[in-house]
Symmetry: D2
């Protein structure tokens, strides 16, 4: 049975106020290194309850699985079902079995998941923002009803095929193509190749972007694996990654895949479609990467307090260590405020895409930079994966390069600031 986050949240709110809920009624706030600028004051009671649910699940259920998953590049697909049960998937969508929460609540869920692992967050983002979000925004009513409820439960896995082997930062040059099917009437024939596609090896519904031959315009197609004739669709897993090893990544190789006309998104042409989906995913990354950074802060702080050197002082007493902690904590606090602000504007329909470029870029960059610096606190011990921080560092590098590499977002911002484009 579906037990949505909001349902659980409602229950919580009905109870006498918990410690967490009461906290922000009383002044003055003591400084809390876990929330240095008092962002919790900005969330509704419901959002706070959702965040707590998500944190509990992630710390209690996901964290114990992550080391093994990461070591062996072994994604546990059941996680999507568990998330589905809690209402995490497509959480901002209204109806279709989705929780219909605010963008800030959705951000808080994302933060909780990425606090454990960016790979787990990637798997969720693809399902929620890219696949479900795309269907919700651009799909027909039939498409929505067919796919969204199962996807919300995590029973149907989705993926998002945009990037091609030769076209990363420049999807407009894609080579995948949809032609009229030579033999099946009412069908297109899709051919082409996509790479670095999270979830592709396990996806049942693949949202694939390809150029419609007759117009040369990019269109979105919902490819159902179970309907593909043998030999037309392959989704080989990509192994030996040096980050995001707890997520599953693959290619999509299409050789005349037949797709029924009604499985094309009807009203969206060009890059507007995929970019809109990406915007939504990027918004989530801005929250998530701060979650990962916060976990690095917490682990580095704990290590610094426990590790003694030179006359038995905890290394937390070193100025050079304190500066690293202060810097990281500050960037995390600033990053959350920015993500929150864009979330609120998003729900009011006021979030410009460049705002999302800004917070995606900055939060990824600062999370990565600070995680690397915090890693230094562990000295030689950092090499052991049991301290977790090396995993965050490796993951965060990948988040910086995908869904718009950092430099590409610099140029998107540069263009918005100057009115001049510099992509050459």
């Amino acid at each position: 049975m579906f037990r949505s986050v909001t349902a659980r949240a409602a229950r919580r709110v009905a109870q006498p106020p918990s410690v967490a809920a009461r906290r922000h009624l009383h002044a003055p706030l003591a400084f809390d290194w876990k929330d240095p600028l008092g962002a919790s004051n900005l969330y509704t009671e419901e959002e706070l309850a959702i965040a707590e649910t998500a944190e509990d699940y992630c710390q209690e259920r996901m964290l114990p699985r992550v080391l093994e998953a990461y070591r062996n590049e072994n994604y546990d697909q059941k996680i999507l079902e568990e998330m589905g049960e809690l209402g995490f998937l497509g959480a901002t969508i209204k109806g279709y079995g989705c929780a219909g929460v605010s963008s800030v609540a959705s951000g808080l869920i994302t933060r909780a998941v990425e606090r454990v692992d960016s790979g787990y967050r990637s798997g969720m983002s693809v399902q929620s923002s890219l696949a479900m979000g795309g269907i919700e925004e651009f799909g027909t009513e039939e498409q929505k009803e067919k796919f969204l409820p199962g996807m919300a439960k995590g029973k149907i896995v989705g993926c998002f095929g945009l990037t091609e082997p030769n076209h990363g930062s420049d999807p407009g040059s894609m080579e995948s193509v949809a032609k009229p099917h030579p033999t099946k009437k009412g069908y297109y024939s899709l051919s082409g190749s996509k790479t670095w596609i999270t979830n592709s090896p396990i996806a049942e519904v693949l949202l694939v972007w390809a150029k419609l031959q007759e117009t040369g315009k990019i269109r979105g197609f919902l490819v159902e694996r179970s309907k593909c004739p043998p030999g037309t669709l392959e989704t080989p897993k990509l192994d030996n990654k040096n980050g995001l090893r707890a997520s599953i990544t693959g290619m999509i190789q299409m050789d005349e895949v037949p797709v029924a006309h009604e499985m094309m998104f009807p009203h969206v042409e060009g890059l507007r479609g995929p970019f809109s989906c990406l915007n939504s995913a990027r918004y989530g990354i801005a929250w998530g990467t701060i979650g990962a950074l916060e976990d690095c802060v917490a682990r580095a702080r704990e290590y610094a307090l426990e590790r003694k050197q030179f006359k038995g002082n905890p290394i937390a007493k070193y100025q050079l260590v304190q500066k690293k902690l202060a810097d990281a904590t500050t960037d995390a606090a600033y990053g959350i405020l920015a993500a929150h602000q864009v979330g609120r504007l998003k729900d009011e329909g006021k979030a410009a895409p460049e705002m999302i470029s800004m917070i995606k870029r900055q939060n990824c960059d600062r999370a990565l930079v600070n995680a690397r610096i915090l890693q230094e606190i562990f000295g030689g011990n950092a090499v052991s994966d049991e301290y977790h921080i090396g995993r965050h560092v490796a993951n965060l590098f990948v988040t910086q390069t995908y869904e718009g590499q950092s430099d590409i977002h610099s140029l998107i911002l540069g263009r918005a600031i100057t009115g001049v484009q510099a992509f050459v």
Copy 2:
């Protein structure tokens, strides 16, 4: 006649909504490089109106004076009176002829002033946050009534004497002392020396912190220049500064200055008094330095669009230039959100001092770093003071070192995060 900001703001609000006022009623926001994350959505109508008033005054009246002032280290004292007329001085104070606006409104004023020059902002901060703020928080009713109305008008200039030549980051070791006056009954005798005191050469009322001999505890004294016997008080101007040259800075040299008992703050002892004043000033610096950075962005952007090199392309088309603009714009946008957040918490009584350390440190640091990088866009032309950016760079370095040098705030934060102090 006193014409407060709020009065003017009230008039504006009564009028049919201006373009600025209407802007945020309509979705979606186009990206605005001057307000990249839509912070203007967070301000009240009154705050927006106050900001506009402040910007108008600063750009129209202050900006034309700044080059000459900076070149010659020549502070125009009339500026304080003009600010007083507009209600900028002690703006958050209720009563005593002060405007009584929100902390956010006060931050917006500060930002507008520092957009022109950090030195002008320093002069205002000292008057408002340090001198008036100190009197308002710790003074007796008589002290308030005596000084605040004239200070709010800018007719009585105040200053704040804490730092001593040998005690910068460590004011607890101060050597200034207040003894019972040897001859005047009901008076203390103050001796000691303070340095880097903004406004001291022109101040009538000097809030001086000194150790009361009988207790060894730090206390606050209001020294009135006009009441000091000849030879007891000197406030020599410090010249040849390499930053903040548009503010006036001096020493306070006290040689048995008689101060009446009723000119001591009655209920505050130790560093709590001066630190509380400093907190308020530091909060303002967090807003102000972002104003200076925003001016650098605007000037660098304009230069980059006008300057043509290599085949007539504006240098705004260079990736290396765009990245500088994107970085600076991002840090400015993040900095404003953080300052706003702390302002709101401040008015709710929820702002921990470490929050202010965090935003003071981060906004100063990021403003400085980015201003320096933006300065590179001007190439060789940056050496001319007419591009203004060199002045901002020099000023911002000073803001990073005063009211808590950046590293000191790192250690304050480090202590709050770890519970361990590292000041050695």
Copy 3:
């Protein structure tokens, strides 16, 4: 049969000058991105020949093995024998079957090895600088004759046990102890635990530092695995490292290991012994990490020239990419000059330990920083281990933390500069 590097080099020199040998006879040098500041002009003919031999071996024989080794944390012990055959091991030692080359030649070998992988270099450094170097500097003639020839051939593997689980940056607090053996006369009994010991699981001779109970002073002991009674010595392998996975790392657990008196170093007490060995290893790291960085430059450059985006331009045409390449190339060129300088001073007996701290710290730091930035050039593709750069990044982080974490070297330098220690 032993075929030393010098022998091969001698042959080369006898031949008519090769292109490489002639290159630096003719002016002017065209700019060579592989040797931007013409460091090759500083090497002797013999050193150039040794470097070429080493590069050939490493690229042809080691490189093809590294991916598999890294993926599976599987160190191929035969590599030490191959290195032995070429004269790489203990290369600066005179006699005992060692090549007796200059410190610069030894640095060039190290650079060639680490150009492939820092883990392979670690395995070699431990054998050469730490184990053989220690025996050569502090051992008795009998110890030298017993171990060095076999170690030079790579037939006897050595390791170096200094770091303990609770004492990383602060080895003076070690807990390992050597007491008179309770039952075996003429023997000490060693107990204690060492961690993060490269080569320990495969080492036959373990140079272990422990406190002699009777004096409380640190002494060096040569523990032969084959002579240890069962249950006294364990060297469990440490798995799941997130860097240096192509080297083998383990613990040394000693429970009353009997060590004959003549297996103790006779004349060295305290930290002078291990620090002298570490100095030698650190000197090598300064060369090696630049080799790794140079490989990153070469790979990033090649990728940037081959990868096309936006209208078919190679991404090498992007300013943001060129800056990354220029920065990294510069730091590599500077790093080599500094390592060379210290090498020459070392052979003249003029290298102060702080010089080695300086080049170890700086070259590790700059190699790491630049490798990370170059990794960005690969965008999403960086996540695949087949581009090698992710491996270098992960390795270089570890090199920054071992044999003196970067911050510790900062404080060593700070102490040398100021005369004041700040280790707390």
Copy 4:
């Protein structure tokens, strides 16, 4: 009478070896923070003696004048004559009254001068490298004999006119033009405008680059101020600079200046001429800026040892302070080795222009970055010009922007590394 550096150096060498001269005969070097990597081992006895002469003059004669000069933008022209007396001007030129020393010796002189002030070094560089160097390399024998001896004495001041108001990084687009003179036979008529020309207001001989109308090619012209008819040549001084205030800077405004045909350089066309001169000047900047940085290190170290805070500890005991000193010292040491290496290659005819781009860029950048960080050590006191470091910081920013702004050199290097140009 002319007393060349070499003469004085020769005398020194004849004397029994001084302490300085003997220093590097004895092993082992103790670590010397003023020469951390033992670069003094690389200099000849003559070079060491020259360096000592230069340091003595600069510290004893120039340093006492610099504060006043900088405050008032007042260049003391006698400094050039004093330098001339010591053989500093055009020091590498053979004959014509010049000292004929090595490029390394010349670098050491430059370092000594810029240790005092980058403006003083600029004045010298323009005279030596740009004006005299240009004449020596491209001039006719008559031109050399006419100008070089007087310039070597500092009696004739030269300047170098390349940059135009609208063409900084892109001199190939210059607008200055030389036409056949309408009335004077055998003369060209020069018109156009140059800006940011060091020494122009006091120069007698102005080396001006302009396009020859008949060919469209850039040529070099020696304009003698005393021969210009009234109204044809103006060289207004540019005031209110925010850096290099101890040098004199101006424009060159030419309105049909008549220049005799024999005052044109005969054999050099295009940008090769000015770029060759600039290379030579840039080489000097690479030495000079390290001198400025070394002065910052020395001053910051001294301040840190004298300044006490918190329980009377010198702030040199703070880890955060020590790290700043360690970083700066390292970059200075590396920078000197790189400059030395290029100097040696230069004298062997092996220095590629890109090598000079590399060391100019890197040494300017690192000197600036570190000087700024060292400035933080002075806290609020840094604002006083009497600590000198603020002046260095302001100066070093200018050196980063002139003779090739840092980013431009990045692109020069990027082009050399990739073979692809990215100037747009």
